[in-house]
Symmetry: C2
Subunit: 314 residues, 2 copies
């Protein structure tokens, strides 16, 4: 696959680079690093993101981003960190028409939608695959690329804490530090950059925290809490992961009030229970350790439905 | 220094290994790894800790620990991760009489109290120095040692996020993973192992959070909160670091009620303000980025004194 990609890049001139909706550190870092790499070869790289870059990643050196799917002709379209093409967002029908379509990804669920597929399900992150691709293409990794690749690998391994933390994840981070990435500065930008209001909201949410059987933790957030703390749904990012850190917890749940008697459920597991299967029961989905769904009912009814499903699922 | 230490170890048989009060991951990991290493050479290693191992480090493979300073004669006493000898706790006068006294540490403030001093202020952690010492001694690092050294380096760099995150910190972690340390299992034990009550207490504390001038964050915890949530002062570990993550904050403060009109102050900085200098004004002390003191007064008076001192200090 790498030889095909090399040929496309060397023979082409004008490329499109994109990634998934609600982009995370791996999506953004991979796309930015790859766009910089293409430009370092004297090529043109247009970057399309469906959504804005979240505030915690605004520090990353990056190219201009377009949020409207371009309709031009490209010598290749690179889709990074997407398991399926629809994940790029509202431009995905258009992208399907653009050939060659290069799919570079590490997700287990990747459906090989590309005309060229560089998919390594064992890679810690798409950033790691991009790193290896740049080495293969003999591209010199400069500071801008290094900061992006470092961020991709570091964030997608949960700062080298998740199960995908491989030896090669360490090695790529180490190489990126050598190439100019500053670990403490990057960590400060990503992890010490939350608005105060997030903490006030967390304070409200933690007061609702309850555990069941020592293995399930449930908290909820309401519209009143958003109003009281001057926040909105963006601020709950990371809350469910946070309560998953309670000792002995196998499933963590955050219930977010969407409307009267309608809750959005975010569920996280630690490998023992397939939370996607639980969320499927309510018409939702996701991955084994991270899934979501919507449930109608009062807060008490919703909590009861969840607990019943979790009992049945165990 | 390493040649002297090698001679002591090779010629001796019976050693004492100790570290500082309120031991953290670097203290425990370094002491355990070093004791295992001595034993792997067929030597006897007694381990003395003033305090208990905190719950988050109970998973580490370790030797038996004595909490009473032994009075026997040793061929050498190894004091790890202590800037000064008094840091080992109540046995320090006795330890001063025991010779040779080997001081292995990385703190900036180390006062070279040993008869042999292996002090590297540029090392990320004492764990890293122990790693290099074991390599020098040609000791095979087994899984037990690897888990301890990994924990020492990983925790003392704030999971590879602090300014002391050097290239060598990455390399040591990588080597320890190769030697059998499992990063995700260790991270889960350390970072996902908090009692539920800690989160309930954090919820109470976050409701007191206020920021001043966008650069100072202050929260407080009272005896009533401990009572309401079934917690005690041990549960506030990490709270002040947590509020330091607010965007733009240069100084984070947690005020803990010790008694009526008496507060223990924990202060953390990000390098721009010397928080030890602030705490010195109140008879406390610490390091540039982490310090503490006690202040008498009502909660409002205490907060006002702190803010005045911080204004004067800026």
């Amino acid at each position: 696959m790498k030889t095909k990609i090399k040929k496309l890049i060397m023979e082409g001139q004008d490329f499109l680079v994109t990634t998934h909706i609600d982009p995370d550190g791996d999506a953004i870092g991979s796309a930015f690093a790859f766009a910089f790499a293409l430009r370092s070869l004297g090529k043109k790289a247009t970057v399309y993101f469906n959504d804005q870059v979240p505030y915690r990643y605004e520090f990353l050196p990056g190219p201009q981003i377009t949020h409207t799917m371009p309709h031009g002709m490209y010598d290749a379209v690179f889709v990074l960190d997407c398991g399926s093409l629809f994940r790029i967002g509202k431009g995905h029908e258009g992208a399907a028409l653009l050939k060659p379509l290069v799919n570079i990804d590490h997700h287990d669920t990747n459906d090989l939608f590309g005309t060229v597929n560089l998919v390594d399900k064992k890679a810690s992150s798409t950033g790691e695959i991009i790193y290896r691709l740049l080495k293969y293409l003999k591209i010199t990794i400069d500071k801008n690329m290094a900061e992006n690749i470092y961020t991709a690998v570091f964030t997608d391994t949960g700062s080298l804490r998740y199960e995908n933390t491989s030896l090669s994840a360490y090695r790529v981070c180490e190489e990126m530090v050598k190439a100019g990435a500053n670990p403490s500065q990057i960590a400060m930008m990503i992890y010490e950059n939350h608005p105060k209001e997030r903490y006030l909201l967390l304070g409200e949410v933690l007061r609702t925290l309850a555990t069941y059987n020592g293995t399930v933790a449930i908290a909820h957030v309401t519209g009143d809490m958003f109003e009281k703390t001057g926040t909105n749904s963006e601020f709950v990012d990371g809350f469910v992961e946070f309560i998953k850190e309670i000792r002995g917890i196998e499933v963590a749940v955050l219930m977010r009030e969407l409307d009267k008697d309608l809750y959005k459920i975010s569920m996280r597991g630690k490998g023992t229970i397939d939370v996607a299967a639980i969320c499927n029961m309510f018409g939702g989905g996701g991955h084994r350790n991270a899934a979501g769904c919507r449930i109608e009912g009062t807060i008490e009814e919703t909590r009861r439905k969840l607990l019943d499903a979790l009992c049945a699922g165990q």
